[in-house]
């Protein structure tokens, strides 16, 4: 518990001091979403249909940006050795890092989504469902992305490689996340989708750290 809290606080402090990661992720999110109305034309009907999907895809891609740096700096400066040698299980340390990652990427994305939803003409009552779906789905993005980040440690082009590994695994949250907004806008209710989205995150919570820790131990050998 001590090691979890300590690692979590340390990573948050580093992210606050260096500051650029959250700004980069948010900046990419905003730019990606702004490109769509410019590209497909300002027709409200078209935007209304693709809006939720566009937002979810942009959030996914923005989350991918920060993945390879989740473990890369610690791996390169020797800090990963110390984390692996800590008395706390490596899985707990992984959870701490994923939690800090979510607070610096997933949470800002969720907070920015209502404003960007206006840009892509999402229905007003769909905006709250959108924000809720991102809140429930971004933890699984951090956790699943951590698997990709850990698997590509030390590889060349680790950024592209981790994106390639993570994107197929991101499809379930994407489908249920965008689906929840469309269902709620269509009136059939997005509750089932949201519940499944939450279940995905809850399932990733114990399973992803196991995979990540195994990948990290392999990278340290």
């Amino acid at each position: 518990m001590t090691a979890f809290a300590g690692l979590f606080r340390r990573d948050l402090r580093l992210a606050l001091r260096q500051g650029s990661e959250t700004a980069l992720v948010l900046g990419f999110f905003v730019l990606a979403v702004v490109l769509f109305p410019l590209g497909v034309g300002p027709e409200p009907e078209l935007l209304r249909r693709i809006g939720p999907g566009v937002l979810w895809v942009a959030a996914l891609l923005a989350a991918l940006l920060s993945l390879d740096r989740l473990f890369q700096t610690d791996y390169e400066d020797g800090g990963l050795d110390l984390i692996a040698l800590s008395p706390a299980p490596l899985e707990i340390a992984v959870l701490a890092k994923c939690a800090a990652h979510w607070i610096t990427t997933g949470l800002p994305l969720t907070a920015a989504s209502p404003f960007l939803a206006l840009l892509v003409a999402v229905e007003p009552h769909g905006i709250s469902v959108l924000a809720l779906s991102l809140l429930l789905g971004t933890p699984s993005l951090s956790l699943i992305g951590a698997i990709a980040g850990a698997l590509t440690l030390g590889a060349r082009r680790a950024g592209v490689l981790s994106s390639l590994i993570a994107l197929p695994l991101y499809v379930p949250p994407l489908v249920f996340g965008a689906g929840s907004v469309e269902a709620s806008v269509a009136g059939t209710g997005g509750r089932a989708y949201l519940l499944i989205l939450g279940a995905l995150s809850l399932a990733a919570l114990p399973l992803a750290p196991l995979a990540v820790a195994a990948a990290l131990r392999q990278a340290l050998e």
């Binding site: 050795d81 110390l82 050998e221």
Partner: protein, 249 residues
């Protein structure tokens, strides 16, 4: 290696100085030896060394030397359980280390050739976060100050680590040894980049640790004065593919 005949550096302990050995468990752990038996290591597909055996008792030091590429860092990572040996056993007393790696890791400090320093944090913050990682819930400020003073980092204590020179970073990495107690120290080229003063402080820390009953494995090219250290030269244990095949038969 220089061997100092100074009696103050001798690993023999005077009865009154055992103030730190409070608990029965700690007293028992002093009787236990760290034993390596016929250790062999592969990095990837490449065999590095084979047939290494040693015994390390409380208060003893093992100095590992060898040419570049002979496997000094690999041996230290193996002893730190960051690597699994290809063959052979590592035992704490009579228990194989791999049966309960968590409690073995709680007993060791590993200082590799990388410093594990974050440029955005200060030296004091780094020491505190390392201590917390080791399970010390609230690291005492006096202990951190003492560790900084032992390696003459008091003036640099609150600077961001990106301002520290390479030698100062090395000192900070070594100061980590003093922030939380652990009987086994595994040091990989600890004096690389240190000036004369840094080297002396390192030797003092090593001597104090051995005198208090700790044990040390050092991999080094440069001479470090450690009283009565056992030498282990890895060149004699080079593994080649042919030798590994010969051993298998």
């Amino acid at each position: 290696m220089r061997h100092r005949d100074d009696p103050a550096l001798s690993p023999m302990r005077v009865a009154g100085r055992d103030a730190s050995a409070g608990s029965l468990a700690e007293a028992h752990s002093r009787q236990v030896e760290l034993v390596g038996r016929d250790l062999a290591c592969h990095r990837g597909e490449r065999p590095v060394f084979r047939g290494i055996s040693f015994r390390l008792a409380s208060g003893a030091a093992l100095a590992v030397t060898g040419a570049n590429g002979s496997g000094k860092s690999s041996l230290l990572r193996l002893l730190a359980t960051l690597l699994r040996p290809q063959t052979g056993q590592l035992l704490w007393g009579s228990t194989p280390v791999w049966r309960d790696p968590a409690s073995y890791r709680a007993r060791l400090h590993y200082v590799g050739h990388l410093d594990a320093i974050k440029p955005a944090l200060s030296a004091r913050e780094m020491l505190r976060s390392w201590a917390v990682l080791r399970g010390v819930a609230t690291p005492s400020r006096s202990r951190i100050d003492a560790a900084l003073a032992a390696f003459a980092l008091e003036t640099a204590a609150d600077w961001p680590c990106r301002w520290l020179s390479a030698g100062q970073r090395r000192r900070l990495a070594l100061a980590r040894l003093l922030v939380s107690p652990a009987p086994i120290w595994l040091l990989d080229e600890p004096s690389a980049g240190l000036d004369g003063d840094g080297q002396e402080r390192l030797e003092q820390a090593i001597a104090a640790h051995l005198a208090a009953g700790g044990r040390i494995v050092v991999a080094t090219h440069l001479p470090i004065a450690i009283a009565a250290a056992t030498m282990l030269t890895l060149d004699a244990f080079r593994a080649t593919a042919d030798a590994m095949r010969a051993d298998a038969f």
